[in-house]
Symmetry: C2
Subunit: 249 residues, 2 copies
DNA sequence: GAGTGGTCTAGACCACTGC
DNA sequence: CAGTGGTCTAGACCACTCT
């Protein structure tokens, strides 16, 4: 009647991969593949440390990272358990392109505008650049299965990034930024809805007045620079936002 | 030319509050009140530990919690800096009621349905209960400034919670669940849009065909139980989802 | 080379849970 | 009461960044 699971775990001290990370990856894989079933107890930290030849703080660090991901729950006096919840995917700062690709949708992008323009006061405020200065302006139509799905307008400060139209059509904006050495840190998003105007209806192959899903986003890198402002519209019959939230404890 | 900030920090060893938590709260308050300005360096961990009479791991634990919140950035060989970004509010598992209240909107709730019904197959699957079993069904209209803003239908397993109509009108569902000793853990959300049907248009004081913002949510507690399934519609001219995402590193 | 954070150890005591 | 996680210490060595 002991629900504690005995897993085969091992660490490689010759590897440059941190020991706690090796352990957390093995535990995550065991959960993923069902070798650690929901509700099962992990075995206490001291015994686990002894079995692996690690110190307790190292084992705790591994476990803590999975608690932060929402995969495990710790209870004082009880133990550490695998969470039951059906879906494990956490909320990430992801791009539409990545979302579509991982869903197997073969996204395509049509770059309609790729230019440098003087900013409007609103965009200047959002990007944190001086009014009247120049910024990149990119407008893209995203298609899935050949059908228009999203119309995206983005503004970026000059000098951060080469915005090559061919690259923009081959991948997503976030991927280009990461490839340019920008470390993304956080983004502020607003998701809403409105009726389509005549122009935006036509862009997405919709009727005027049709409901559109909208998203505005400002993205920051880890130095605090604003690296991107975007305002996107989606056809709600073809796209919705889906994510998992964790409670901050 | 030293950008390192010298803060007045202290810890109380007699307090039951953990030392790392005392420190992280003081640092967070210092950032909040501008005593630690964006971009400023925090001073190295060893010196900080010595100054406070703490060990380095304890200081690291305090700093790490703020890094996880997105307030600080660590760079090896450089130091720990306060992030620049304008908005600091992180994404939380929040309730509409709390959102409105903190925005000063004086939310009101009208409970239209509060009953127990046999579940449909779809709801049974979402809630993880047996088909044909009974569940709570609650329908609420949320108003702000006396105007309808959201129409919310929620299903809850029996036995978790007393669903008193008066309490439901006085506060939010999440708050009632927490008060009942349920520890919320995570939620899976889908946000989309669609045109209003005749019935839902009338509920929200809209025209048929008007764009609606929609949200479906399944909420889990820390034992893995599904504690709630909800499907909500919002008037997009009166509500939108706003949140900050952090990159998972 | 000097200084920073990243990782790791081998202990310790406490608070809470369940029997 | 025994067993669990929560917190804390005082060191150590390494990898990386900047000058």
């Amino acid at each position: 009647m002991d629900p504690t699971v005995r897993l085969e775990l091992s660490v490689d001290r010759g590897s440059p991969v941190p020991l706690y990370f090796q352990l957390s990856q093995q535990l995550e894989a065991a959960i993923e593949h069902g070798r650690l079933t929901p509700g099962s107890l992990l075995g206490n930290e001291i015994e686990l440390a002894g079995r692996l030849g690690l110190s307790r703080p190292t084992v705790r660090q591994a476990i803590q990272s999975l608690v932060d991901k929402g995969l495990l729950v710790r209870r004082r006096g009880v133990g550490t358990q695998v969470v039951h919840s059906q879906v494990k995917r956490p909320l990430e700062l992801s791009s539409l392109y990545d979302d579509l690709e991982s869903a197997g949708h073969r996204p395509a992008t049509r770059v309609l505008v790729n230019t440098v323009v003087p900013v409007s006061p609103e965009i200047a405020a959002a990007l944190g650049v001086a009014e009247g200065s120049d910024v990149h302006r990119v407008e893209r139509l995203r298609l899935a299965h050949g059908e228009p799905m999203a119309y995206m307008t983005n503004y970026l400060p000059l000098g951060l990034l080469d915005l090559d139209t061919r690259q923009l059509e081959a991948t997503g904006l976030y991927r280009l930024m990461r490839a340019a050495g920008i470390t993304l840190h956080s983004a502020r998003q607003t998701i809403g809805a409105r009726a389509a105007g005549a122009t935006e209806a036509e862009r997405l192959g919709e009727e005027r007045g049709a409901p559109l899903l909208t998203m505005q986003r400002v993205t920051f890198d880890d130095t605090g620079r604003t690296v991107e402002f975007g305002t996107h519209t989606y056809r709600p019959d073809r796209y919705s936002f889906e994510f998992q939230l964790l409670v901050r404890s």
